[in-house]
Amino acid sequence: MSSNGEIKKMLLILSKATLENVYAAFVLANGARSEGIEAEMFFTFFGLEAIHAKKLEHLHVATVGNPAMHIPTMLGGLPGMEAIATKMMKSEMEKIDMPDVREFLEILSASGVKLWACKLAMDMFHYKREDLYEEIDGVLTVGEFYGRGAGEGVHMLFI
């Protein structure tokens, strides 16, 4: 077996569902697959919203506590600010040919990215399998997800 440090598989854990984090995770997973690297995603805690059938189309950018947005935190908390920032971000994304969340999930799934929901978070939010995006590969415990990380060249990333 080769051990030249080459990445063979990426395990990405998504724990947040703010649009910028969801896209970061999706781009990393998709980028792995296009380089011939295997990729699996574990959606836990609020990250579950990214695969919740009814919620995934309504994710927002975080405008509070995000200095890089250049919106003062006090203003970021005003009603409607998240919606405005989200609209702006989505319009920029369309310009660079970035798919929306649902289409991105379809691309990931078709590209062979495994999509797993976290069992504990499902229980916590009282979500059922049928509440989730139909193409996910299943619901796993943390231990089962770790089990998928066996072998050389496997890297794990928490987002």
Partner: protein, 102 residues
Amino acid sequence: MEKTVAGNTIQVNEEGYLTDFSQWTREVGDEIAKEEGIVMTPRHWEVINYLQEQHKQETALSIRRIGKSGVVDIKEFYALFPKGPLKTSTKIAGIPKPASCI
């Protein structure tokens, strides 16, 4: 740099992509495919032809756009060129490696 493929001398960059599409022939494509561990079928060639047409029209290539092309869907694209479909297929097609992250 120079490379001899299928009896032809071609110019390639350090990653093995042709730098001059006019030097591409089907034999060259076939030979590069072999190096990538791919046995070409008529279906592979259909995709390669499509990519070359897109390149001639100077359309930027992305997985998303190929998925919507009607020529091949994303699942089949990965099945045809398993080790990174876009980078492998463009290499075989003799066109530049797309710089897109999506």
